[in-house]
Amino acid sequence: MNPKEYRYTKDHEWLCPEPDNKAKMGLANYAQTQLGDIVFLDLPAPGTQVEQFKKMGEVESVKAVSDLFSPASGKVLEINQSAVDEPKMVNEDPYGAGWLVKLELSDPSELEALMKIDEYNKYEAEASA
């Protein structure tokens, strides 16, 4: 189930807003099922400035490599080192323990460009069809 308070990109990343203009991001469930077993995460170092919908890293599964795009602009505060050490966490719990990057958002209005749950559920269903 995709969490209803999260926002989503067309590339199947999610963003979960937190207080003080902070937000966590990660891979949506659809993305992890498409990739299969994830074995390597290349995430930006803390302090890196990222831009909305621009490449911020890479995700490698056993069968494929995929670019990771940032759902919003801002500064990388923290990366999930546990997931880097054990990437299967992203497969097992993509919306919880398998989060990827914590951001400080530079422009919270960018969230308007992301999909809300109803729109994303539809988008995901079409992608799966």
Partner: protein, 360 residues
């Protein structure tokens, strides 16, 4: 998935299991059912079953069948005894590799070829071209009327339905009944584990498959088939070797017996051997977590020296490994090379390409 893809007799079973299906050499086949890693580990620790019906199955029959096969194959078949099988190879006249194949001698004058899924028409044209001068030869492709599964892993010998074949020697085979289903069962495989491959009528394929599932054997897809064979250092034709590579540089010179009567490619292969190869297929281990994939450049001191032909994560070993061609002078064990992974040079070390060797 495009409707133009070939479907094996087990296609519906794969869909019912909700496997992820992909196009493999024109066949719609499962790349995984639940997880490549779990399927891989199951074959290393227990038992898995693969639908390998994409492999072509061709009967060659007739008084001169042996002589004909000796003409088109690099390894002599006359010494192959009835009831046994061998790995063999077809080369083009210039010594390039057309395919590697398993050959079963079923009767004195009757052989079964099991070859790779790709380039089927080209290979049939090749057989027709050379069989003309051997009267009375029949070549019959039974791929569509039959199916083939592989059951692989350390616990296969304990499976009840295989009790009649546990005494088969390596590469031995017999025609027998498995769970009441007629099958040609061979002690062969492509995973680095013990196991069997079996050919049965297309109409019996689902029953045969289900009989193994009922015994707790896990369905495994192409993803695990690829990572298992790569760990075991087995080459994939069309990827690690093709018509632009010769058997000596692919480290398969042992399949080429030059000290016998003429066979297709012999003249060119003699010359290649006389001159010595300029490049060689090597195995390497990446010093890092990035995964090498087919087509990536191999560099040395900033210069391209070759290409990765196979690569991936090795689940049993927990490292990233690959195969590729490098110039002969760079092919020694422990030589350090760079793999270009998305414009980064990632160091790798040349190692024995039998990355995984099962304990005996």
């Amino acid at each position: 998935m495009a409707d133009t893809l070939n479907k094996t007799p087990l296609n519906e079973v794969h869909h019912q299991l909700r496997a992820r299906m992909i196009d493999f050499a024109g066949w719609e086949l499962p790349v995984w059912y639940t997880s490549v890693l779990e399927e891989h580990r199951t074959v290393r620790s227990a038992a898995g079953i693969f639908d390998v019906s994409d492999m072509g199955r061709v009967w060659v029959t007739g008084k001169s069948a042996g002589r004909f096969l000796d003409r088109i194959l690099t390894r002599p078949v006359q010494q192959l005894e009835t009831g046994s099988s061998m790995l063999n190879m077809m080369c083009l006249e210039d010594g390039g590799i057309l395919d590697d194949l398993w050959l079963f001698r079923v009767e004195a004058d009757r052989y079964l070829i099991v070859w790779n899924a790709a380039h089927t028409q080209q290979k049939h044209d090749w057989l027709s071209r050379w069989s003309g001068s051997y009267p009375g030869i029949t070549i019959e492709d039974v791929s569509a009327e039959t199916a083939m599964v592989a059951v692989q892993g350390p616990t296969v010998l304990q499976l009840k339905s295989l009790s009649s074949v546990v005494d088969l020697p390596r590469f031995g085979y017999k025609q027998t009944a498995i769970a009441g289903i007629d099958a040609l069962v061979a002690r062969t495989g492509y995973t680095g584990e013990d196991g069997f491959e079996m050919i049965t009528a297309a109409s019996d394929a689902v029953s045969l498959w289900e009989s193994f599932i009922e015994q707790g054997v896990r369905p495994c897809g192409l993803g695990a088939r690829d990572s298992l064979r790569l760990e075991a250092g087995m080459l994939l034709c069309g990827q690690d070797m093709d018509s632009s590579t010769n058997p000596f540089e692919a480290d398969l010179g042992w399949l080429v017996h030059l000290d016998r009567d003429d066979f297709v490619g012999r003249k060119a292969l003699l010359e290649i051997k006389r001159q010595g190869v300029k490049r060689k297929l090597i195995g390497f281990q990446v010093e890092g977590r990035e995964i090498p994939r087919p087509g990536y450049q191999i560099q040395r001191s900033g210069q391209e020296v070759g290409k990765v032909t196979s690569g991936g994560y090795a689940p049993t070993l927990g490292i990233n490994i690959g195969l590729g061609y490098v110039p002969l002078e760079l092919s020694a064990i422990d030589t350090v090379i760079d793999i270009m992974i998305r414009s980064r040079a990632v160091p790798a070390r040349i190692v024995n390409k039998r990355f995984y060797k099962r304990g005996v």
